[in-house]
């Protein structure tokens, strides 16, 4: 009770001003902090060995722990990788959401702001970007529950396209065999009211934006592009035409 009270006092001043004694963090809080330290240590190690080289033993050594201590928090290397992947997708998703929330309602402005936010996030977190959009880690298979975090950034992009098409007549759905080519139920749920050919083009645009970011970050534009930021703006504008006009 005492402990609860002092915690509440920190959060909400004035509620608990009865001279309560501040206490040590609870066991649960200590666990959360230790997990955060393990994850930040691991993120530093990603920069040194890449995702495939990550090992629980080395993370423990970096933290000055015995190996057995780290297994209380992550029982396998894959569990740790999954936690890092989910964090990275959530962080990227939040960056995209913030970018759109700061824009007015113009879908073109929103799409541009989202693409720029993706590029900036990648530049600030190159090793986490490589973790989620670079080479797969041999032997690692992301569990199903990572999808929610992974979908956040594409939900932002889908939302922009959907809002752009909200007040237009859907037009004739071209008979291009898209029905069997794509997972139409999922895409209809993600972009309700958007014509099927535009939904197909939206997938191109997602991979196009990440293709540009990866090419730049991984060095494939060296010798061709001098001002990467201006080139990105131009390219995103061309991509936007595919889904907004």
């Amino acid at each position: 009770m005492q402990e609860q009270c002092s915690r509440i006092a920190t959060d909400r001043p004035g509620v608990c001003d009865t001279g309560a004694v501040p206490t040590q963090p609870t066991r649960a809080q200590a666990r959360i902090r230790q997990i955060e330290t393990i994850k930040s240590t691991s993120r530093r190690l990603l920069a040194v060995h890449g995702a495939a080289g990550l090992s629980l033993r080395e993370v423990a050594r970096e933290m000055g722990l015995v190996s057995s201590a780290i297994y209380r928090y992550f029982s396998t290397r894959d569990e740790l990788l999954t936690a890092l992947i989910v964090d990275a997708y959530n962080d990227l998703g939040a960056a995209a959401e913030r970018a759109v929330s700061r824009c007015d309602d113009d879908p073109r402005v929103q799409l541009h702001a989202t693409a720029v936010a993706i590029r900036r996030w990648a530049q600030r977190h190159p090793h986490e970007y490589a973790l989620i959009f670079g080479s797969p880690v041999p032997g690692y298979e992301a569990p199903q529950f990572t999808i929610d975090a992974a979908t956040r950034v594409t939900t932002v992009l889908s939302g922009i396209v959907t809002s752009a098409w909200r007040d237009r007549s859907p037009g004739a759905s071209a008979g291009t065999g898209l029905g069997t080519m794509l997972e139409q139920a999922n895409l209809e749920a993600a972009m309700p009211g958007v014509p099927a050919p535009t939904r197909a083009r939206a997938l191109m645009v997602w991979s196009g934006i990440f293709g540009l970011v990866s090419f730049e970050l991984f060095g494939h534009f060296r010798g061709s592009v001098r001002n990467a930021s201006s080139f990105f703006d131009l390219a995103v504008d061309e991509l936007a035409d595919l889904v907004l006009s």
Copy 2:
């Protein structure tokens, strides 16, 4: 002796009926063979540990050599990685060149065939694709001379766009600030006679094609695309419009 002779006899019947004394492979030939074995062993290990996890020591162990023996062929891990990267780029470049050589002169057909060849090569060599287009290897910097091999596939793509524009009037170069944005001298050399805005779009198309291949190979189209091959055809056709029409 008998064995050598019969081997030669098998390769070129009639050459070896004069009692000529066949020889052991020369020192240079033996060296080339050993290098090939080291590289093929390394390619197998890429699939297990990823590029960042490759070590000369482990390659030697896999081949049943003492560590010191491998240093006669590659003095560092980076030297071995460079050899694998150059091979991968050359192999991909050759696949693209073959694809175009089998087509008639229609640039759209050629661009499609090249894109399909890139996708197929990536599917057949996923770990080598990840080595050259996936996450950079921490601490590794590709030396300048890898550029020739790396440029082969883009030279094919540039050639297709150049031939498409050969007989057209260049049109007014739009004042979009492309001059300072791109390395115009390099792009003019790669795509002579192609208007500057189209050259800029060509860079988008390259990254777009590899963006599609990476998204598919690295699992990002799961849940959206059912028939990846048909979707790729459709998407490449949209990309082709950006540089050919």
